[in-house]
């Protein structure tokens, strides 16, 4: 199940006004204002959120650039995993499409 179709030329971004963050120790809690749901994010999911906050990208750009953003070798960041992290944000409406 995915929230919807995707296309290489569609541009996505996370709007910082659409969520609140609260940290308890090493755990990040995110409240999504659109969906009203609360999420516990681990370090990698948090990184994906930060990667897209205020920085529009296509899915292709996300897949290509995430390993560098995390400063890890590309092998440790297979595209399937990156897509899944993106989908998690897509499912709860945290990532939104910018229409041309």
């Amino acid at each position: 199940m995915s929230a919807g179709p995707n296309s290489d030329d569609w541009v996505w971004v996370v709007d910082p006004d659409h969520f609140i963050i609260y940290e308890i120790g090493d755990t990040t809690f995110v409240f999504s204002r659109l969906s009203g749901t609360t999420h516990m994010l681990n370090l990698v999911s948090r990184a994906m959120l930060d990667f897209l906050t205020g920085k529009p990208k296509t899915l292709g750009e996300v897949v290509a650039g995430f390993a560098d953003y995390l400063q890890v070798p590309k092998e440790e960041c297979p595209s399937g995993v990156v897509r899944r992290l993106f989908d998690e944000l897509d499912d709860v409406g945290l990532v939104e499409r910018i229409l041309p």
Partner: protein, 309 residues
């Protein structure tokens, strides 16, 4: 038309009001219009809620409205049953009329759990020492209510047995001191230390086993409007013959457990999120395991003293 303790009214007036649905229970954070039709739940209410403030008449507004009635006209006359009706078509299973106090208590719980959005509600008991509160998280069979009753005996104030009611602006807990529900073995234990007149008659053979209730005391009622700031949360586990054990647990896990236990967190949304996070700030959470009441009290006393000066 101000509220007065139930026992101050003429018994006949109180009974008439209960039967006609013109009695409003003003208890802490909530007021509830209560309508009862059978002798047993009326007697239970007059006994367990004797010190509670009520208003008679049809001019009082109430947050909620609960009727305990036969499920249909037929059941009024044959194989007597009752069902709690909180007014929004909740599909509660009927109970034999001999268990009507259980229907009343369940109905009052449902009324709050499913209709309150002004406060964030978590499934837990709350007691307080002064204006500092201890949250006792509920887990089936964990012994929350026995521990609550034992702490009451040690001088702690009862805020509520079934719900932690969080004021989202103040990050403090509100009182709603209803009778503490006791199950099976704990009934005799509590009768033992609180005294027979503090505990209701036992209802046998309910879907949850044997059930009885410990009344809220006059002091709990008198101070029910005083909020308390939560400092510690415990997750109690009673295990026969277990050695006492205390383990600090992660606040992040505690947050997720509290959210999962809340009937209205999702509905309230953002304010519940920030309210909960603010509440947890500076709190400590512990799992405690014990095999006796004395051990549970000792554990609580230790961790309370070490965290709350």
């Amino acid at each position: 038309m101000t509220a007065r303790p139930l026992e101050k009214y003429m018994k006949a007036d109180a009974i008439r009001a209960l039967k006609s649905g013109t009695l409003v229970l003003e208890l802490g954070a909530f007021s509830t219009r209560v309508k009862l039709s059978d002798r047993r739940s009326v007697a239970f209410f007059l006994d367990m809620y004797a010190d509670c403030l009520v208003t008679l008449g049809d001019c009082a507004l109430s947050d909620f409205s609960l009727t305990v009635r036969p499920p249909n006209q037929f059941r009024k006359y044959f194989r007597h049953q009752v069902v709690p009706d909180p007014g929004f078509g909740f599909p509660a299973a009927p109970l034999p009329v001999s268990m009507s106090p259980l229907a009343l208590e369940m109905g009052l719980n449902l009324s709050v759990a499913l209709q309150c959005f002004r406060y964030a509600i978590f499934h837990a008991g709350v007691v307080a020492e002064g204006d500092q509160a201890l949250i006792i998280a509920a887990k089936s069979g964990g012994g929350k209510s026995t521990l609550t009753a034992a702490l009451m005996e040690e001088g702690w104030r009862l805020l509520s047995d079934e719900f932690a009611i969080l004021d989202l602006e103040e990050a403090s807990l509100r009182g709603y001191p209803r009778p503490v529900s006791l199950k099976n073995a704990s009934i005799d234990v509590v009768r033992g230390f609180a005294g027979k007149d503090q505990v209701s008659e036992t209802l046998h053979g309910t879907p949850k086993g044997s059930i009885a209730y410990r009344r809220p005391r006059r002091g709990d009622i008198e101070r029910m409007a005083l909020p308390a700031r939560p400092r510690v949360i415990v997750f109690p586990a009673f295990t026969e013959g277990a050695a006492p054990r205390c383990q600090e647990i992660d606040l992040a896990d505690t947050a997720m457990q509290l959210i999962a236990s809340s009937p209205n967190y999702q509905v309230i949304g953002e304010r519940a999120f920030t309210g909960l996070m603010t509440m947890l700030d500076g709190m400590k959470a512990y799992e405690i395991e014990y095999g006796s009441t004395e051990d549970s009290l000792a554990l609580v006393s230790d961790l309370w003293r070490s965290h709350v000066s």
